[in-house]
Symmetry: C2
Subunit: 375 residues, 2 copies
């Protein structure tokens, strides 16, 4: 992956290319040996006045003849592209697939970016001015009202993710914060403050998926499952404002496909676009009992040396959230953790199985990926 | 499919929904029986300030739990979504898939649409002001210089496609034209005139692909192959300005997968964004000998009652070209022809095998689909 940043000088295609080249290099593979390209990106036409990303990338890599397309699924575009690549290999249609996700949000002015991101929501909600941060605020208020966790526990999610990013050279924010920093930051959508929310970012991430077991003799990681599900489009249609059905269904399908469950997970990358989402998704995925995720945070169990490290790379909150890159950057983080490639201050101990969940909108869709160390 | 139009009052999501409902109705299927949705669209964010199409459509259809994503491949977004749906079913991951393509170009002002469509091309070509119509003009000039066909033969492609669209109630242009109308229309990129070029359009098209042979007892059509390939991104990198390698590779792969070749094709839907492309693609696909497609046009062999009817629904030229819808509308046309559903003035006689080719940019990518009558 590229280092995520508030603004990167390179163009979107250059970012995609940089990540692709790193992944090909890591996989010890030539572009010519890859027969399909799956590009994850949310809004290049609107953000960058750029189109045809998949073919631009295939062209830059000299991959004439490869299958190439872009997959868009709003903030889950990255994992959806990864899933597309996984399916191409798993079905036998592709021997070696390249999944590359990226976004360059700094090209867009705030009004454009806000408009496009807001238009992820249901028309009825959009027309009433409901935005993703306001959904986050409503969910956070409901969670704190319903369960015992408090506002300071919520802030601890951001504090932990910033601490993890501090050690991660690919992270956008390499700055430690404390609970008071979160509470003193400007209010965004009560009770959420600025430091409860992920930033806008530039960046790209890529992986090579191969059907050929001889491709790597060491450090191979196996995809145990990659499953997705659409949720209700209008949040108001949900019976419980704290449920994210897409995450629950995608997770259940992934556990079924992998043959292991939440208890087997050693490390998780959760889509923490807002701090409260880390809790809601952990609960939907069975990584915490319902209404109890706050407890794991308060007790430090989700810290990098805790029982279940969550977002060891800093999460969307602090590693950054270049929309189309995020889902693939989660996979990259898990691969590094499962391989044991990372320095001590970054590494989760004894990580054999990892989970990543990438979410579109406020639960409009979710993709859950399970990885296992070894070939 | 919806009736294609210069401007449709409905929103993009409403267009997608209308086409989806028609396809589900035709397939005698409930949305609840469909487990994956594949939306083809090029530029909703830029044209319509709208995002998250796949989830909006899944939500409108009440398909919570389905796999849903959008596939973008510029002007081949429709066929790429169809291919994604086909792969989901062929690989066993989906029992019943819905492919829906659509575009609402009338929301965008001409400057925005021109900019986004021009940014399909390679940076180097874009920076020099080369646009898709100018590529079309260069190729047409080269073809007329290289081979015996003349300017009036090229016009006959448009005349034929307008005649076919005249009988097609779903077509945008239901107006017969003659060769002089083409030659008298304004020059666009010499030697191409306005009537050599497809219009901008609003519309959507959809199909249901099922793995269950009991889904239809009559009128079933089988997907014999659906293959794609990226071409060179920069047109200037091609050894021969008249080659479209993506089309040739995708076609060859499709014939190999289907087990039959160009000689077996009874009807073809060719991506005639510019008249000359109908010839170039027919030649790459082996539907005409190299340098001889003009002869088939001059002799009337590609007319609806000819030896090899091409674009019986009017093609991009006259049925219209709502970018993301086009590839799926080609499949819809072939299904109608292979089933024998159409009135006499619209129908190709004895059509058992059909070919569709949908092209991204000026050959940056191509998807070739082969359909066969019967289950």
């Amino acid at each position: 992956m590229t280092e995520f940043a508030n603004a990167d000088d390179r163009s979107l295609v250059e970012l995609l290319l940089a990540a692709a080249e790193r992944a090909l290099d890591d996989a010890d593979s030539d572009a010519a040996a890859v027969d399909s390209v799956h590009v994850g990106n949310m809004a290049a036409e609107a953000f960058n006045a750029r189109s045809g990303l998949a073919n631009a990338l295939a062209g830059s890599l000299g991959m004439t003849g490869a299958a190439a397309r872009r997959i868009e699924n709003t903030s889950a575009s990255g994992a959806s592209a990864f899933q597309s690549a996984f399916e191409a290999v798993a079905s036998g249609r592709s021997e070696r697939a390249l999944a590359v996700g990226g976004e360059k949000m700094s090209d867009a002015d705030t009004a454009t970016a806000t408009e496009i991101i807001s238009r992820i929501t249901h028309d009825r909600e959009y027309e009433q001015g409901v935005t993703l941060p306001s959904f986050g605020g409503l969910a956070a208020a409901a969670y704190l009202h319903e369960y015992e966790g408090d506002r300071r526990d919520l802030a601890r999610v951001a504090v932990k993710n910033h601490a993890n990013a501090f050690a991660n050279e690919y992270a956008q924010f390499r700055k430690r914060i404390d609970v008071d920093d979160v509470l003193d930051s400007p209010a965004i959508a009560s009770p959420l403050h600025l430091y409860d929310c992920c930033p806008t970012s530039d960046g790209a991430a890529a992986v090579v998926i191969s059907a050929d077991p001889t491709d790597r003799t060491d450090g191979a990681v196996t995809i145990a499952a990659c499953e997705s599900a659409a949720g209700t489009h209008a949040v108001a249609d949900r019976e419980d404002p704290l449920e994210i059905e897409s995450v629950r269904i995608a997770g259940r399908r992934a556990y079924d496909a992998a043959g292991f469950g939440a208890n087997a997970i050693d490390v998780a990358c959760i889509h923490d676009a807002f701090t409260v989402l880390e809790w809601l998704e952990m609960e939907e995925l069975g990584l915490a009992p319902e209404g109890k995720a706050w407890r794991l945070t308060r007790d430090g169990e989700t810290e990098i040396d805790g029982e279940l490290p969550v977002n060891p790379g800093g999460g969307l909150k602090a590693r950054g959230h270049p929309l189309g890159a995020t889902g693939i950057s989660q996979v990259v983080e898990l691969v590094w953790q499962l391989r044991g490639d990372l320095p001590d201050d970054r590494a989760v101990e004894r990580a054999n199985r990892g989970l990543a969940v990438n979410v579109a909108g406020f639960g409009n869709n979710a993709v859950c990926t399970l990885l296992e160390a070894g070939a």
